[in-house]
């Protein structure tokens, strides 16, 4: 299992970000971020607002220059290279379609700047319009005459027409309603697959990042906390912030006693555990003796019937139940006062009721030991 992935060692690195720092006045927006992106990858930068993800994107696009560190695209150092000369293209959050230009002029603008002949521009604009499923009769209209989703497609077409090496997306779907968002997410995935262009997508929507990206970089307060495949981020988060940021989870108090090369020994307050021993791979890289959290996702907890053996389990009293249609969620509390969330597949017969005391068990492979970031 790949952990704390910082990108492959392969030759085909298209974007190499090394220890990039950026300061705005008194606040340090980027505190030394490193990230390596492979050609053709779809990488999502996620994090709460103010985490520096958009700042990082601006440094890649060349709208701002970092105070320190290095950004290289295709092995070429981008220091001092203005946005207009970088092989990148940005899709803006507010789309930034030129209101005084028609759709055709908007899409063809990058080629016009490159002084391409008019018939070539017209042909390429047609191709982009077809690719983005836009109606040809829109070409003579102005951006404000189109709906939000259509404007989105125009913005994508404009970014793609000059065949950029790197497409940068700055939360372009955040202003759309849920239904339209789903459609355009699928569209992005399709474009990425059919064009083979490398995508760097900034979003605060975790679900979107999990759906679209090959790899996710979780950021907080100007730092990249973890880079990895969506599944690794979800089931093997580097610390309790990443674990809590991505979906709902249980973080149970435990104490790490000993870290050995092959295993980690821990003691659990409320938890009954046969041996208190976990394979080393099921603990965060930086784990050290001391207070820690045992993470288990709600859907990986099982409600154990009386007498049914589980290698490790916890007893809890159910305090709330939610029917979610496809699933049933129970909120419970342990005798030690720790909250636990369990989610089981929905059935017509509910396995437990409010006030019941249940045993919640799990398989060892489904848990992960982690700590707060120092």
């Amino acid at each position: 299992m790949e952990k704390a992935d910082t990108g492959g060692m392969g030759q085909d690195t298209i974007l190499d970000i090394v220890d990039v720092r950026k300061r705005y006045g008194a606040s340090q927006a980027l505190k030394g971020v490193s990230l390596r992106v492979q050609r053709g990858e779809f990488v999502a930068l996620v994090g709460p607002s103010g985490c520096g993800k958009t700042t990082l994107l601006k440094q890649i696009a060349g709208f701002e220059y970092p105070d320190g560190g290095r950004i290289a695209i295709e092995g070429q150092d981008m220091a001092g290279v203005p946005a207009s000369e970088r092989p990148t293209s940005m899709v803006f959050q507010k789309l930034a379609l030129f209101p005084h230009m028609t759709i055709a002029q908007n899409i063809g603008f990058p080629l016009k700047l490159r002084a391409r002949p008019a018939d070539e521009i017209a042909r390429k604009v047609r191709e982009m319009v077809d690719l983005m499923y836009l109606k040809p009769e829109y070409l003579d209209r102005f951006p404000q005459q189109l709906s939000g989703g259509e404007q989105q497609r125009v913005a994508l077409a404009r970014s793609m027409i000059s065949a950029p090496k790197l497409l940068l997306l700055d939360e372009p779907l955040s202003a759309l309603d849920v239904k339209l968002k789903k459609i355009l997410q699928a569209e992005l995935k399709r474009l990425h697959r059919s064009l083979g262009v490398t995508f760097v997508h900034v979003t605060h929507d975790l679900e979107e990042a999990m759906m679209l990206a090959d790899r996710i970089c979780v950021m907080r307060a100007g730092e990249a906390l973890q880079v990895g495949r969506p599944n690794d981020i979800y089931y093997r988060p580097a610390d309790s912030f990443v674990a809590g940021f991505i979906g709902e989870t249980n973080l149970l108090d435990v104490e790490v006693i000993e870290v050995r090369p092959d295993a980690v020994r821990y003691r659990a307050g409320d938890i009954t555990d046969a041996d208190g021993l976990l394979p080393r791979a099921l603990a965060a890289d930086a784990i050290a003796p001391g207070p820690a959290k045992l993470m288990v996702r709600p859907e990986l907890l099982a409600m154990a019937k009386n007498g049914e053996p589980y290698p490790s389990a916890i007893t809890a009293e159910i305090t709330e139940t939610f029917g979610k249609g496809g699933a049933i969620q129970f909120r419970a509390v342990t005798p030690g006062g720790q909250p636990v969330v369990v989610e089981v597949p929905g059935t017509s017969h509910w396995p437990a009721r409010l006030g019941d005391t249940v045993r919640l068990g799990w398989h060892k492979r489904d848990i992960y030991l982690l700590q707060e970031r120092a």
Binding site: F63, S84, F92, A96, H100, T102, F109, L113, R114, S159
Partner: protein, 291 residues
């Protein structure tokens, strides 16, 4: 303006009642004087006295004497030059205020406003002192070794133009500044991203999007410069009068009210015609871009 409501609104008596004060004011202070001016042009004067006689004498006079039209043509030319200079000077100033000097723009705007609020007569005479053969400018130039009376353009059309541009510049600076400041920054970034240099981004995005400000400022400056009389008199030395000065003379010195009124109407109609013409060209260009 108020009179042109939506058609269905006309049937509501309530709207009439609401519009009445405004309509009355407009009629009293705007339409009535205009109507009187028009009526005046059909009268005559005899030995400095207004004769209430309906005739076309004044109009036939105007259309048969090229002198008036030369002055009108000269006025329009000067105004057009003034508009062009104001826009050309204001563009970089407004652009700098809106982009480069954002931190200082508050102070700069206050300074411009102060300069603008200072009485135009004062400022115009100030220029005379500065530009005079023995004025400050020539004194300084002589001091650093230039030949005497280097600057000798006081009492020419150029001095008039200088005064006009100086007094009216604030209008274009502010209208263009507002237009540029309202342009979404990400549009400029999008232009850079698409491969535009700074100059190209200005030409392709900033300039077209500041057109409303350029247009508004131009109309204001044009209308005001068609009406200037101070600058041609003080800085131009009254050697080549413009229409407003001609009208003033006709009323005050020659005491020929019908002629003065007719010249006023001619100036007004011409100015409005010029603006409508340019408006037409402007909207045609916009539509042309759409096609």
């Amino acid at each position: 303006m108020i009179g042109e409501g939506e058609p269905k609104g006309w049937r509501q008596p309530e709207l009439w009642a609401k519009a009445l004060p405004s309509v009355a004011l407009q009629t009293l202070f705007f339409l009535a004087p205009l109507l009187m001016t028009v009526l005046l042009t059909f009268q005559e004067t005899r030995s400095f006295m207004l004769q209430w006689a309906w005739s076309l004498k004044t109009w036939s006079d105007i259309f048969s004497r090229p002198h008036y039209w030369t002055i009108l043509w000269h006025t329009l030319w000067m105004s057009a030059l003034c508009v062009a200079l104001c826009v050309l000077i204001s563009l970089p100033v407004a652009y700098a205020l809106a982009t480069r000097l954002q931190s200082m723009s508050g102070h700069v705007k206050v300074l411009i406003t102060f300069a603008f609020l200072t009485d135009a007569t004062l400022k115009t005479f100030g220029w005379v002192l500065f530009l005079d053969q023995k004025g400050a400018a020539n004194f300084l130039l002589e001091r650093i070794g230039f030949p005497p009376a280097m600057i000798g353009f006081l009492y020419t059309d150029w001095a008039t133009l200088l005064g006009m541009v100086y007094n009216l510049l604030a209008f274009t600076i502010f209208t263009i500044y507002l237009s540029i400041a309202n342009i979404d920054r990400s549009l400029i970034l999008a232009a850079y991203d698409a491969g535009a240099s700074k100059w190209r981004a200005f030409w392709e995005v900033t300039l077209p999007l500041s057109r409303p400000g350029i247009w508004t400022g131009s109309v204001l400056v044009f209308l005001l410069s068609v009406g200037v009389f101070l600058e041609p008199k003080v800085l131009g030395g009254g050697k080549s009068p413009m229409s407003a000065e001609l009208i003033r003379q006709t009323f005050e010195t020659r005491v020929n009210w019908p002629l003065g009124a007719a010249l006023t109407i001619v100036l007004m109609v011409t100015a409005v015609f010029v603006i409508l013409l340019f408006n037409r060209v402007y909207s045609l260009r916009r539509h042309g871009a759409a096609a």
